[in-house]
C-alpha cells in the first residue's frame, strides 16, 4: 500500500493536462460511437491527434480508420507525408477526392480556378454516407476563429451535415454526449482547448515529424491582392497549380507555412524558422493570427467561417 501524500498534489502542467483531456475525448468517441473516423490531412494539428491516438489506444489498433478529403490541390510534400505516416502507424487510410465529386456532378466549380476548399464539405458528406460514419474526429481549435470559440467538443450535425449554432447540446463537466440517430453525425474536436502555441510546444516535446513545408524554405511566389501567393506548384498528378498570371513578377523568397490546406487558399509567411524551436519563438512574437496571415478564405467577411460551418464544413 502507498501512503497518502501529505502535501497538496502537484497539478499537471498545461501540456500534460491538454494531452490528458484530448486522450479522454478520443476514448469517449471510441466508447460512445459505433463507426467513427479520424480526419487526417497531414497537417500539424492532425499529426498531434495521431500522437494522441497512439497514447490513447496502443498497444491496440486505433478503433477508427483515417480519412482525408483531398481537393487534388494539396502540396505534394504534405500528401507524401500523409501516406508515409499512415503506413508507419499501420492504420487504414481512406482518401476521397473532390475531383470525383466534380466528375459525378455533385461539385460544380464556378470557374476552373475557383478554390476547391469549400467544396470539400460535399465530398466529406458523400464519404460519411458511403461509409455510414457516425462521428468525424477533427483537429479544429477554438482559438482559430471567432465562430469556433463557441464550438462544442462534441458538435452535432444534422442529416445535411449542417451546424446550427443555436441548436447545440449543452456541454457540462466532461460528460460529453456523442449520441446520434441514423444519418446524423457528431464532429469531435479533441484539441478544442489548444492554442497554436500549445500545438507547437507539443510538437516540440513529442519530437513529432512534420511535412517539410512547415519549415523555412525557398519558394517561387507572387504578390496577389496583398498576400504572398505560391505559384507554379507541382501536384501529385504531375500538373501544376496556381500558374503565374500575365504581368505578375515571380519572386523567390524564404517562406514557411503556418497552416496547410488547399493550395488556393493557403499562403505562406516570410520566415527563417527552419526548426521547431525557432517556430515556437516565432509564434510567440507573431503579431498576426494564424488564419489572418495565411488563410485567404477567411478574409472574405467577418462571418465567413461560420457560413462555411453551417454548410457542413469542418
Amino acid at each position: 500500500m502507498t501512503t497518502k501524500q501529505e502535501n497538496p498534489r502537484q497539478p499537471l502542467t498545461h501540456l500534460d493536462w491538454l494531452e490528458s483531456e484530448a486522450i479522454y475525448i478520443l476514448r469517449e468517441v471510441a466508447g460512445q460511437c459505433s463507426n467513427p473516423v479520424l480526419l487526417f490531412s497531414g497537417g500539424k494539428d492532425s499529426l498531434c491527434i495521431l500522437r494522441l491516438a497512439e497514447k490513447a489506444f496502443r498497444p491496440g489498433r486505433f478503433p477508427f480508420p483515417l480519412m482525408h478529403i483531398d481537393t487534388g490541390h494539396n502540396y505534394k510534400e504534405v500528401i507524401d507525408f500523409r501516406d508515409q505516416r499512415a503506413a508507419e502507424l499501420g492504420e487504414r487510410l481512406i482518401v476521397r477526392n473532390v475531383e470525383d465529386s466534380m466528375a459525378r456532378g455533385t461539385v460544380v466549380l464556378k470557374s476552373a480556378d475557383e478554390s476547391r476548399n469549400k467544396h470539400q464539405s460535399v465530398t466529406l458528406l458523400e464519404a460519411i454516407e458511403e461509409f455510414g460514419f457516425d462521428c468525424c474526429i477533427g483537429g479544429a481549435r477554438r482559438d482559430e476563429e471567432k465562430a469556433r470559440a463557441k464550438e462544442r467538443i462534441m458538435s452535432f450535425r444534422d442529416e445535411f451535415g449542417q451546424w446550427d449554432p443555436k441548436n447545440q447540446r449543452p456541454e457540462l463537466w466532461s460528460l460529453y454526449n456523442a449520441r446520434s440517430h441514423k444519418g446524423e453525425n457528431i464532429r469531435a474536436f479533441p484539441i478544442s482547448n489548444w492554442t497554436e502555441m500549445d500545438v507547437w510546444q507539443y510538437i516540440e516535446r513529442e519530437k513529432l515529424q512534420l511535412p517539410s513545408i512547415y519549415f523555412a524554405h525557398q519558394r517561387d511566389v507572387v504578390m496577389r491582392g496583398g498576400s504572398i501567393v505560391p505559384v507554379n506548384v507541382p501536384l501529385v498528378n504531375g500538373e501544376v497549380a496556381n500558374p503565374v498570371k500575365a504581368g505578375e513578377e515571380i519572386i523567390n523568397m524564404q517562406v514557411r507555412f503556418r497552416t496547410v490546406g488547399d493550395i488556393s487558399c493557403t499562403a505562406p509567411v516570410i520566415s527563417d524558422a527552419d526548426d521547431v524551436s525557432k517556430i515556437v519563438l516565432e509564434t510567440a512574437t507573431s503579431t498576426i493570427t494564424e488564419r489572418g496571415a495565411t488563410r485567404l478564405d477567411d478574409q472574405t467577411s467577418d462571418a465567413s467561417m461560420e457560413q462555411r460551418k453551417k454548410e457542413g464544413y469542418f
Binding site: 500500500m1 502507498t2 497518502k4 501524500q5 497538496p8 498534489r9 502537484q10 497539478p11 499537471l12 502542467t13 498545461h14 501540456l15 500534460d16 493536462w17 494531452e19 490528458s20 486522450i23 479522454y24 476514448r27 469517449e28 466508447g31 497512439e54 497514447k55 490513447a56 489506444f57 498497444p59 491496440g60 489498433r61 477554438r142 482559438d143 471567432k146 465562430a147 470559440a149 463557441k150 449554432p165 443555436k166 447545440q168 449543452p170 457540462l172 463537466w173 466532461s174 460528460l175 454526449n177 449520441r179 440517430h181 478544442s192 482547448n193 492554442t195 502555441m197 510546444q201 516540440e204 515556437v280 519563438l281 510567440a284 512574437t285 503579431t287 493570427t289 489572418g292 467577418d302 461560420e306
Partner: protein, 437 residues
C-alpha cells in the same frame, strides 16, 4: 499597454493551467474585462485588432470596443448580445488560462451552469455605481451551487465613482452580508476555499494587469496576480481514487504473442491517486484485484494522479467493461439505485415527470424515472417553491429512481462522481444537469 508585442513563452513547457469563468452582463463590463485581459497579455494580435477597429468605426464608436472580441456568432453580432458560452485562451508564461464566458441574463441560467461546471474560479462583476443587485445574488448562488472553489468579487467601473474607497468598502460589506445569508461565505470557508474582493476599471485597465495610480488605497492583489495565485486543482484535499472505465483494450488479434492476454482498462483518473500494487475493487460487481501496471502510451508509471488519462492493468483477469468504476478497495462506495440531486433544466422542452430519461454519470448510463420533485429554487430570491414540472433554466431538487446502479459520491465531496447529465433519448439532446446531494 506595453509597446513590445510578444507573448511570453512558457518556460520549459511547465506552465500550469487555470479554468475560470466571468459572471456578469455586458453592462457590467464583462466583455471589456475579457478583452482587456487578452489585450494586456498580448493575446490579441494585429489583424484581429484591425478588424475590431473597422467594426467599431462602422458602428460609429470613437474608441475600439474591446467587447467585440467576445461576440462570436453572426446572430449575436447583429443583436449586440452574447447568447452562448464562449471559450477564450491566454497565457502569461507561467500559466495558461481558459476563460468560459457566459452571458449573465436570467434566461441564461443554463449557460452559467455550463460555464461554471468546468471552472475553478469565478469572477463576479459588480458595477460600482449599482452595487449588489439581484443578478449578483443569482450569479453567486449559481457559482456556489456548481461548487466553484474560488470566488473573486470584482467591483468594476471604479473610474465612474471617482475611485472612491468608501463606495468600494460599502459594496464589499453588502456582499458579505448577502454571502452569509445564502451560506456561501460559510461553505467557502468550511471547504478551505475563498472569496476575494478587488476594485477595478476594466475600461482603463486599473488593477487588471497593471495597478496604475488611481487607487493607492488598495494594496491587495491585482486581477492577474489573483489568477496567477489561485490553485489549479479543483480541490487540494485528498479525494478517494475514482477511475471510470472508458474503453477496454484487448489487442488479441495482434501479431505480437505477448499481447494475446493484454487487457488494458483505459480511462482518466477523476480523483485521487493510484500506485502499482494497490488493492482495487471493480464496481458495481465488486471484483477485487491489484494494480499490475500503469501506462500512458509507451511510458510505464509507478503511480498516477487526478486528471491523468492512463491505461490500468490488473493482476487478475476480470471481466470489466465501459461504465464500470475501479476504486481502491479501502475506499469503495456502495452502488446506489436512487439519487437525490439539484437539477438545472437545460432544454426548451419542459421536463415531464411521467417520462423515462437517460442519466449519464461518468462513463455509465442508466434509465431514470422521476421519483419526486421536492421544490424548485427561485434563483433571484432563493425561495423554495412547489412545482409539478421543470422549465428551461429552472433549478429543482429531485429524486430519481435508477434502472442500473451508479457509483456516486456527493457533488460537494467529489465533483466528477457527483455530477450527471440527463439525456432525452427521442432527440438525444442533453436536457438537464444534476448535482448529487
Amino acid at each position: 499597454m506595453s509597446s513590445s508585442h510578444t507573448q511570453t513563452i512558457d518556460s520549459q513547457h511547465s506552465a500550469s493551467l487555470l479554468r475560470f469563468m466571468t459572471c456578469g452582463s455586458v453592462d457590467d463590463g464583462k466583455s471589456t474585462l475579457i478583452g482587456r485581459l487578452l489585450f494586456d497579455t498580448k493575446t490579441i494580435l494585429a489583424d484581429t485588432l484591425t478588424q475590431m477597429t473597422r467594426t467599431s468605426e462602422k458602428r460609429g464608436l470613437t474608441a475600439v470596443d474591446l467587447s467585440l472580441l467576445t461576440d462570436g456568432l453572426q446572430a449575436e453580432r447583429e443583436q449586440g448580445i452574447t447568447i452562448d458560452v464562449a471559450y477564450r485562451y491566454f497565457s502569461t508564461g507561467t500559466r495558461k488560462y481558459i476563460i468560459a464566458d457566459a452571458p449573465g441574463h436570467e434566461q441564461y441560467t443554463r449557460n452559467m451552469v455550463t460555464a461554471a461546471s468546468t471552472a475553478n474560479l469565478a469572477i463576479i462583476l459588480i458595477d460600482a455605481r449599482k452595487g449588489v443587485l439581484t443578478q449578483t445574488r443569482r450569479h453567486s448562488y449559481l457559482a456556489h451551487l456548481v461548487g466553484i472553489p474560488h470566488i473573486v468579487v470584482a467591483v468594476n467601473k471604479m473610474d465612474l465613482v471617482n475611485y472612491d474607497q468608501a463606495i468600494y468598502d460599502k459594496i464589499c460589506a453588502d456582499y458579505l452580508v448577502f454571502a452569509n445569508e445564502i451560506g456561501l461565505a460559510q461553505s467557502q470557508i468550511a471547504a478551505g476555499n475563498d472569496i476575494s474582493f478587488i476594485p477595478m476599471s476594466a475600461l482603463n485597465g486599473d488593477m487588471l494587469v497593471d495597478r496604475l495610480e488611481n487607487m493607492p488605497w488598495y494594496d491587495g492583489k491585482t486581477m492577474i496576480e489573483m489568477l496567477e495565485a489561485a490553485p489549479s486543482a479543483h480541490t487540494e484535499h485528498n479525494e478517494p481514487f475514482r477511475f471510470p472505465v472508458q474503453f477496454v483494450c484487448r489487442p488479441h488479434a495482434s501479431d505480437n504473442p505477448e499481447l494475446h492476454d493484454f487487457r488494458g482498462f483505459m480511462g482518466r483518473i477523476e480523483s485521487g491517486e493510484i500506485a502499482v500494487g494497490d488493492a482495487v475493487t471493480v464496481l458495481p460487481n465488486g471484483y477485487q484485484s491489484k494494480v499490475k501496471a500503469i501506462q500512458i502510451g509507451d511510458a510505464q508509471l509507478q503511480s498516477a494522479t487526478t486528471e491523468q488519462s492512463i491505461t490500468l492493468l490488473l493482476e487478475d483477469e476480470i471481466d470489466t467493461s465501459r461504465g464500470d468504476m475501479i476504486v481502491k478497495s479501502s475506499e469503495a462506495q456502495e452502488p446506489v439505485k436512487q439519487i437525490d440531486a439539484f437539477v438545472c433544466w437545460l432544454s426548451e422542452t419542459p421536463m415531464s415527470p411521467a417520462r423515462t430519461y437517460v442519466i449519464r454519470h461518468t462513463t455509465r448510463e442508466s434509465k431514470a424515472k422521476v421519483g419526486a420533485i421536492h421544490y424548485k429554487v427561485d434563483v433571484n430570491t432563493l425561495e423554495e417553491q412547489a412545482t409539478a414540472d421543470l422549465k428551461m433554466n429552472d433549478i429543482a431538487r429531485i429524486t430519481f429512481k435508477l434502472a442500473q446502479p451508479l457509483m456516486v459520491d456527493s457533488y460537494n465531496a467529489n465533483r466528477a462522481t457527483g455530477a450527471f447529465i440527463i439525456i432525452d433519448e427521442s432527440s438525444n439532446n442533453t436536457v438537464g444537469a444534476g448535482m448529487i446531494i
